[in-house]
């Protein structure tokens, strides 16, 4: 972490105190987590106050943390059954419950300050409500408009105060939020042209899901925290 970023971090800590919690980073980037209730005030301050001057919002990104850190192969122990091909998938259960894990959906903001040449990342978890809902920042950075529409379309995150929250990337009349981790990669429906009806029709998908390379997580000592520069976390 460079000295300049440490100065910025010190300023943020001094100004916002407990409202913003720093997340350790391994590659010299500054990340803060904050509560969704504080988001709007903090974002306004980060944009308007001369110390920060984040006049640009580069990116708004939805993240679904369902199944974070899970793998399809065990790597820690030897097995006596051999390794599976990782092909058998558990059936997809769509989350119909009223509540999510409070740390399931997050919205990540990438801010850029042209005057100070700083970047800053904010992560806001949307809490346990279904559908996830969070304050919009379109009134602070107008460029957030489409980025928030995209997060709504792909993750179903609602942005309170957004002027025009419609789907943006998926088809007209699409059902579901395709980038959620419980949405299958092959989708739920396929389209084809029906000559008899003379129009395009939707049918349930006919292809099987498959995994070519199973997901594995291996412990690599080269990346272990003990060997890292303590400042970088």
């Amino acid at each position: 972490m460079s000295e300049r970023y440490e100065t910025l971090a010190a300023r943020i800590d001094e100004r916002f105190g407990d409202q913003m919690r720093r997340v350790p980073s391994s590659c010299g980037e500054l990340t803060y987590e904050l509560d969704k209730d504080n988001l709007h005030d903090i974002a306004t301050a980060l944009r308007n106050e001369a110390d920060f001057g984040f006049e640009m919002l580069m990116d708004v990104c939805g993240v679904d943390y369902l199944g974070y850190g899970s793998d399809e192969w065990t790597t820690s122990d030897a097995t006596d059954s051999g390794f599976s091909r990782g092909v058998e998938r558990e059936p997809v259960i769509l989350d119909e419950s009223d509540e999510f894990d409070a740390r399931r959906f997050a919205v990540v903001y990438h801010l850029l300050s042209l005057q100070h040449n700083f970047r800053l990342r904010l992560r806001v978890f949307t809490g346990s409500s279904n559908p996830p809902i969070i304050k919009s920042v379109v009134d602070i950075w107008n460029g957030a408009n489409w980025f928030e529409r995209e997060a709504f379309d792909l993750y179903g995150i609602l942005f309170e105060g957004h002027p025009d929250l419609r789907r943006i990337l998926t088809d007209y009349g699409f059902i579901g939020h395709p980038f959620r981790k419980d949405f299958p990669l092959i989708g739920n429906v396929e389209v084809s042209y029906d000559a008899e009806q003379g129009r395009v029709v939707y049918k349930p998908v006919s292809i099987e899901p498959r995994t070519l390379v199973p997901r594995v997580i291996r412990d690599d000592n080269r990346y272990s925290a003990d060997l890292k520069d303590p400042v970088d976390g």
Partner: protein, 417 residues
């Protein structure tokens, strides 16, 4: 006189000036645009979700297909994000090769933009001129990677292989006279560096040709001056980047301000516009053609004098040499593991941004320690630009919509992802 009503008009998605698959729903009063509502997503391929299901290296090819006129720049951001997470050092020669190809890509992109933009608003010749030069640069792509467009040339840790010693030549055929063949192959006798050097000698003259046709052209100026004006404050508010931001007079270029690779060692200037209209953005991009040419020239000179490795030697993430695999068990295992399972990237998150020909192209990558990324978000510059479409065309005539689409340099591969 008949009363003029405001009405709604559909533009695209199958319109030659829509640059692909843009559908615009325009609210028009007479011929004046009140509001434009772009409907995008017709080219949505869920790249970000596909990337989550594949080992890191298998997704490099998807990046080419995002912005399919500046292929290697997309790859660059992606491999930089992985390198940031892994903490790999890239050999210096690979950094120069990457910078050189980034700039070749910038010229490719700007030529495509200039040709298409010209064609859209009435300058047919530009298209033919620009494609003439693009052909040579495509040949450079082909010489290093084997394909003319979707190169998949960059790798985490460097580039796939070193620059070739020879350029492919045109073959004899009964449709070509021997003198013609000789002329076409004249620049191809030496290595790829000789070929690129010959191009950089010739290219400023070509840019002069384009400028002769356009810069002082009365029709060109009528179509672009004071069209789609964006103030610097609005440009920042709307998340503009690249030539769209610089055209409005904001001096911001990641190559200078947050230099990556070897840009801090190269000598080049950043052109900035004054009025923020289509004409200024045209001037900025044309000047970028010249500056890219300068950078390429410096890279060629450096690459000539400094041989060396072009990919990191850590065989956990880069393949071992073929010859080593023949009698070294460890290399064989490395090779097998790398191509079956890939490599695991330490847990963490990184945002890597490059100064893409269209603006800031960023990859935000979250890893949970697996051999596949947990989440990849592609920050496409065109997405932010297109979202400002309505504001830029408001109060202009219908024909100016085409000029604004052109000036935004929209490519749907990256907007829809």
């Amino acid at each position: 006189m008949a009363e003029i009503h405001s009405y709604t008009m559909n533009f695209g998605p199958q319109h030659p000036a829509a640059h692909g698959v843009l559908r615009l729903v325009l609210e028009i009063e007479g011929e004046v645009i009140q509001k434009a509502d772009p409907h995008i997503g017709l080219l949505h391929r869920a790249t970000e979700k596909l990337v989550e299901s594949k080992p890191y290296n298998q997704s490099i090819g998807y990046m080419d297909r995002l912005d399919y006129v500046s292929m290697m720049s997309n790859e660059h951001a992606y491999v930089m994000a992985i390198e940031k997470l892994l903490g790999v050092e890239v050999p210096e020669r690979a950094q120069y090769i990457r910078v050189m190809f980034d700039e070749i890509t910038r010229i490719l992109n700007h030529l495509m933009w200039l040709g298409a933009h010209g064609l859209d608003i009435g300058a047919m010749t530009m298209f033919l001129y620009c494609f003439r030069e693009r052909e040579d640069l495509m040949d450079c792509y082909e010489a290093v990677s084997g394909t003319r467009m979707h190169a998949t040339y960059y790798r985490p840790g460097g580039v796939y292989r070193d620059l070739p010693d020879s350029m492919p030549k045109y073959q004899e055929s009964r449709f070509r006279k021997p003198q013609e063949l000789e002329r076409m192959n004249a620049a191809r006798e030496g290595s790829i560096l000789d070929f690129i050097e010959a191009f950089t000698d010739r290219f400023p003259g070509c840019v002069d040709e384009y400028e002769t046709l356009l810069t002082d052209n009365r029709i060109w100026k009528q179509r672009t001056v004071n069209i789609g004006v964006v103030t610097p404050e609005r440009a920042m508010q709307l998340g503009f980047s690249g030539p769209m931001l610089r055209g409005s007079g904001v001096e911001w270029d990641l190559r200078k301000k947050q230099p990556y690779e070897v840009y801090d060692r190269l000598d080049f200037d950043i052109p900035v516009g004054v009025n923020g209209d289509c004409y200024d953005r045209y001037l900025v991009r044309v000047e970028e053609l010249r500056q890219s040419n300068r950078i390429i020239r410096q890279c060629v000179n450096w690459l000539r004098d400094n041989p060396g490795p072009v990919i990191a030697g850590d065989h956990k993430i880069t393949p071992p040499r073929r010859i080593e695999m023949k009698d070294d068990m460890e290399s064989l295992i490395h090779h097998f593991k790398l191509f079956t399972e890939g490599y695991c990237v330490p847990e963490g998150e990184a945002y890597a941004a490059v100064e893409h020909p269209k603006g800031e192209f960023g990859i935000y990558m979250i890893s949970d320690g697996a051999n596949k990324p947990y989440r990849v978000k592609i920050r496409a510059p065109g997405f932010a630009h297109l979202s400002a479409m309505s504001e830029m065309v408001q109060g202009h005539m219908l024909a100016d919509v085409v000029a604004v689409i052109g000036t935004q340099d929209i490519v749907f591969g990256e907007v829809d992802r």
